[in-house]
């Protein structure tokens, strides 16, 4: 049986209390949210934090609401909660696409959105999703809050801009009309980390792409973003040919590594193929609304 090393355990009663505990416990303290990455790492003794600060009781961080033209997701929102939120899925189908293929129902029931993002695993689906959506991260620190664009949130594998003594509290996504989005993932099995995945969000002005976000997972894309492909699409018509070219550009500009899930060559192909497929699906979802008509069955 795998057993972790000795660790101190503290339960936070409020965000302020959690920040206070973080300040007092020093750099070897870790926030315990869903724990689905941290606890296994502790059992394998790959992580040996001195103190765990449990924030699972902080209901103030477990919220999900549409306010004005913004979707606000509390960091302690569980994956299952996001998947169950019809409003989130209606505005951003990409969120439900991704949540449906993250891990398994047990993990989704307890794992949190904030925890997933702060873990910053290169294969984490939501990092690319929120990068594609150009979300804003809200970070609390003892002196107040600061906001960081999702695309600047990730500084490297397993690294974010959240400093010791800070807590990610919220993710905000601006709601803009005329958009569609999709997430496409290939895994070896349900519940597996992706071999590769791509998320795309599109906004159209007539037939022309007025805005786009493309996120890539597990293929070594900088900040989980296919910036060059986005640049290519902006202002161009939403055609199959352009989607194909955008996929190629995304593939050319990522740096996948070979591992058990597949060789770099294959992952690069997936970056292309899945980017194109995600754009295609995003367009299908955007189109009916753009035309003011009914959504077609199967458009998710």
């Amino acid at each position: 049986m795998q057993v972790p090393a000795q660790v101190e355990y503290e339960q936070a009663a409020s965000v302020e209390h959690a920040l206070d505990l973080l300040a007092r416990s020093g750099p070897e303290a870790r926030i315990l949210a869903g724990g689905h990455s941290l606890i296994p790492m502790m059992k394998l003794r790959l992580a040996q934090p001195e103190t765990l600060i449990d924030i699972n009781g902080l209901s103030e961080l477990a919220f999900l609401e549409v306010t004005g033209d913004e979707l606000r997701i509390g960091a302690l929102t569980r994956h299952a909660g996001l998947l169950a939120a019809a409003g989130a899925g209606e505005h951003f189908p990409i969120l439900h696409d991704a949540e449906r293929v993250i891990a398994d129902p047990v993990v989704r029931e307890w794992g949190t959105i904030g925890g997933s993002l702060c873990q910053a695993d290169p294969s984490e689906d939501l990092s690319a999703v929120f990068a594609a959506l150009r979300a804003t991260m809200v970070i609390r620190h003892p002196a107040g809050i600061r906001t960081v664009p999702a695309r600047e949130f990730f500084t490297g594998p397993y690294e974010t801009v959240v400093a010791p003594g800070e807590i990610l509290t919220e993710i905000r996504v601006a709601i803009r009309p005329g958009g569609g989005s999709s997430y496409q993932k290939v895994g070896r099995r349900v519940g597996d980390w992706p071999v590769g995945a791509a998320g795309a969000a599109l906004w159209l002005d007539g037939d022309v792409i007025s805005g786009t976000g493309i996120g890539l997972t597990a293929v070594g894309a900088r900040h989980f973003v296919a910036a060059e492909a986005e640049e290519f699409l902006r202002g161009r018509p939403a055609t199959e040919e352009n989607f194909g070219r955008a996929g190629q550009i995304a593939a050319e500009n990522c740096q996948p590594v070979s591992d058990q899930r597949g060789p770099a060559e294959y992952k690069r192909h997936l970056a292309s193929e899945l980017t194109t497929r995600a754009l295609r699906a995003a367009l299908r979802r955007a189109a009916p609304r753009r035309a003011g008509g009914q959504r077609r069955p199967g458009d998710g």
Binding site: R188, R261, R277
Partner: protein, 788 residues
């Protein structure tokens, strides 16, 4: 609880007796065992695949306040226990003394007051290693100049373990030379792992006063293990009691004796207290008995008209660092020479070379039926390869070449005597259930729209129920099994068996066998297993042998009881035993059916003041040992329908039709459960499961995040069918089914994917057919002839 006994007999889909406790969470697995004063053990394992041990310093661990003992290779060497025999006449290090030979090998063992302290203390042991070049590729292991892994063995100057062959080479070469068509393929059956839900573990309790050892252990073969512990640890066998409580899956993983067990025994001897050791998931995956790891070159010869003439194969068998395969001693490659499969051939030949590598030992596990899994995969892939070459339909090609019903008993060109079968009927049943012709039409239509579906077939024949003791033994122990049956005065019976359930439902099935023979309800038969002090000797559960061997013993011993009951009944009914007949579960006077007695009445009479005839001592109890006259040969026809996305390489198994013939089915529901499990195994092996290693010998499958097991999502709703061809030599006509689906299903899945990708010119993809491997085959046009 009622199990649904009816007057029609005790066979049928009765609910499992075991489930009453399992679904309540009331099972007793090794980790549930709590003994007074029990300590906890943990194993320090090698991080390197190949290294010389310079020094082991355990002083800091010994100084830990909650540590009670630290055992190193040196501790064991002083007692002559540093090495133990394997099941294949090799030796294996218990704790390494000279070198470590695979990543995860056992180096030291800590005994502490709790498992946290034991784990903490592992980090206090300092081992100095001198790294050596690792060899994880069997081809490189045989190359000149390769590092010799087993330099502990006298005179060993290479990594070659054995060369073995079967069949008539000269005749096979003749047949091939004369054949119209010969197709060759290189096939890899990669290393996989049985990954039972419960990992291996034990609780050792050595009594320093009496010298008794009680060992609760995850064992598929408690009696064989008792003998092994006597041989290995030098303990007198009559003072060893092995208890296997509920076992959470075995699949061959719990056949070997592992170093952790021995360390726990020694720990208990040193500490004078019971010691529990339960390995974690990574330890189980990285160090215990794996399966497969065969690299095969296969050739099939046929006439242009599609008559298959012969098969020829050579294989490299990667056995890891110690040859720890568990199989009948005479067969170092198991039953790989079953490669003639279900077909009527003129000749066949195979040669197998066993190789040491810097990988964990094992090799016969995961419901492999002693390597018939590898053989069936080879044969069924080659029949499909031939179909491609000839442009023939794979179903028709099989039908054309199957052994015909009138040919049984059929002796194969590699020496097996198949007992019974009607293969064409079973194949036809599978094709009909699948709607084969409609599937072919649908496939053609879909291809026109750029959709790629495949239909894969596999027809397998198994050889199970090892085995006749004059041919088959493990470490000199003949592969027979005992049974004893006590019938209490009220007619309730207790059956002691030598095999050990790991989820197969023995407590139910064996009760049904006895109940059927004695005309009582399965509820009235208690099955005792897994405790060497309470059960007769026998070789245990693996190789689908429980029902073929021990099930036969149960029937035979019940018939002995019935024969004794006849004598007592004759006294009761004032008739001659010869005038009695067994009818409707009772002894009755022939021609006077009102004069009759059932087992319960007879059992009471046998214990009563009734004057008993000469030769009956006063109860009905009996015992037996069953030595099977031959193996049994279950078989089946499988059809897999799969959809492939060539853009991503993703494979979805849409349907799976399995028609099995395992002879008489005692409990069809349990049989169906066994088949479901094996089919899921097949999907796992075909699509995702692999225990791979990097160049440094690091195991890349050390957790369930890396070693993938299939889930319900990857498995379609299984479509099962059956034919019943009883075994003519088995007392109740049963053939065994535990491994059939594992053996038969991988080829069907692979054949389906290859069939789907025919428009791309793909002729072979090695398992696991992950999205990456499928995509590479489609876009790299790799074929079986070019596999590295």
């Amino acid at each position: 609880m009622t199990t649904g006994f009816t007057a029609n007999g005790a066979y049928g889909p009765v609910k499992r007796k075991e489930d009453a406790r399992f679904i309540r969470g009331q099972g007793t697995f090794i980790d549930d065992i709590q003994l007074k004063g029990m300590l906890h053990g943990a194993v320090l394992r090698s991080p390197l695949a190949h290294a010389r041990i310079v020094s082991v310093d355990a002083s800091a661990a010994e100084g830990h306040p909650r540590v009670r003992a630290v055992i190193t290779g040196e501790t064991l060497a002083a007692r002559g226990l540093a090495w133990m025999p394997t099941l294949s006449h090799d030796v294996q290090a218990v704790l390494a003394t000279d070198k470590v030979r695979f990543q995860g090998q056992e180096v030291a063992f800590v005994v502490a007051e709790d498992r946290y302290a034991a784990r903490d203390a592992l980090e206090l042991i300092s081992v100095e290693y001198e790294p050596l070049a690792p060899v994880t590729d069997p081809v490189r292991a045989l190359a000149p100049g390769a590092p010799v892994i087993r330099d502990d063995l006298d005179g060993r100057d290479s990594n070659r373990i054995f060369d073995w062959q079967a069949g008539d080479k000269a005749r096979t070469d003749e047949v091939f030379a004369a054949a119209d068509v010969v197709v060759a393929r290189d096939l890899v059956f990669p290393r996989s792992h049985p990954a039972p839900l419960e990992t291996c573990g034990c609780v050792a309790d050595y009594d320093q006063v009496s010298g008794h050892l009680e060992l609760w252990v995850t064992s598929q073969a408690p009696h064989a293990h008792r003998t092994l512990f006597a041989l290995v640890a030098g303990l007198p066998e009559h003072k060893i009691r092995i208890i296997s409580p509920d076992i959470g899956g075995g699949f061959g993983n719990k056949v070997p004796v592992y170093p952790g067990y021995l360390c726990a025994v020694v720990g208990s001897m040193l500490a004078g207290r019971p010691v529990k050791w339960v390995e974690d998931r990574s330890e189980n995956l990285m160090s215990t008995a794996f399966a497969r790891d065969y690299r095969m070159r296969a050739e099939i010869a046929a006439t242009r008209e599609g008559r298959i003439l012969g098969l020829r194969a050579s294989a490299l068998a990667d056995h890891g660092a110690f040859n720890g395969s568990a199989q009948p001693a005479r067969y170092p490659a198991g039953f790989f020479h079953m490669l003639t499969g279900s077909y009527d051939l003129q000749a066949a030949h195979c040669e197998v070379t066993g190789v040491y590598t810097n990988k964990a030992p094992g090799g016969v596990a995961y419901a492999c039926s002693f390597r018939i899994t590898e053989a069936v995969y080879l044969t069924e892939r080659m029949v499909d390869a031939l179909a491609i070459e000839l442009g023939a339909d794979p179903a028709e090609l099989r039908m054309q070449n199957l052994i015909q019903p009138g040919q049984f008993p059929y002796t194969t060109v590699t020496g097996w005597e198949y007992d019974s079968g009607d293969y064409p009927r079973t194949l036809q049943a599978a094709l009909t259930a699948a709607g084969y012709d409609d599937l072919r039409r649908e496939q053609a239509q879909r291809r026109e729209h750029g959709e790629y579906m495949g239909i894969g077939l596999s027809f397998f024949t198994e050889a199970v129920g090892a085995g006749p003791r004059k041919h088959m033994d493990i470490l000199g122990l003949g592969m027979a099994d005992g049974a004893d049956l006590r019938v209490h005065p009220t007619g309730k019976a207790v059956l002691g068996i030598s095999v050990q359930t790991q989820g197969q439902g023995h407590e139910t099935t064996f009760a049904q066998i006895v109940a059927q023979e004695l005309g009582i309800s399965p509820d009235d038969v208690e099955v005792v297993h897994g405790d060497t002090d309470r059960t007769p000797f026998g070789l245990g559960t693996y190789g689908s042998r429980s029902t073929p061997v021990s099930g036969a013993a149960a029937a035979v011993v019940a018939r002995k009881v019935r024969d004794r009951a006849r004598i007592v009944a004759a006294a009761m009914l004032e008739a001659s035993p010869a005038d009695l007949e067994w009818a409707s579960g009772r002894w009755q006077v022939r021609g006077d059916p009102e004069r009759r007695a059932g087992i319960a009445e007879i059992a009471m009479a046998a214990h009563s003041p009734l004057e008993l005839p000469e030769g009956v001592e006063g109860h009905l109890d009996a015992e037996t040992v069953y030595n099977p006259p031959n193996l049994t040969y279950p078989y089946g026809a499988y059809v897999c329908v799969a959809d492939v996305d060539p853009g991503t390489g993703s494979v979805t198994v849409r349907r799976f039709i399995a028609v099995d013939d395992c002879g008489v089915r005692i409990n069809p529901m349990i049989v169906a459960g066994q088949i479901h499990r094996g089919l899921a195994d097949g999907i796992g092996m075909a699509l995702m499961q692999v225990l791979s290693f990097d160049e440094e010998g690091n195991c890349l499958g050390g957790s369930f995040m890396d070693y993938l097991l299939p889930t319900a999502v990857e498995c379609p709703a299984w479509e099962l069918g059956q034919t019943v061809t009883p075994s003519p030599h088995h007392p109740i006509g049963a053939k065994g089914v535990g491994e059939s689906a594992t053996v038969g299903s991988p080829a069907a899945v692979v054949n389906a994917v290859i069939d789907a990708l025919r428009p791309f010119g793909v002729t072979h993809i090695d398992m696991p057919m992950t999205p990456a491997n499928v995509w590479l085959a489609v876009h790299g046009a790799s074929s079986g002839d070019h596999v590295a």
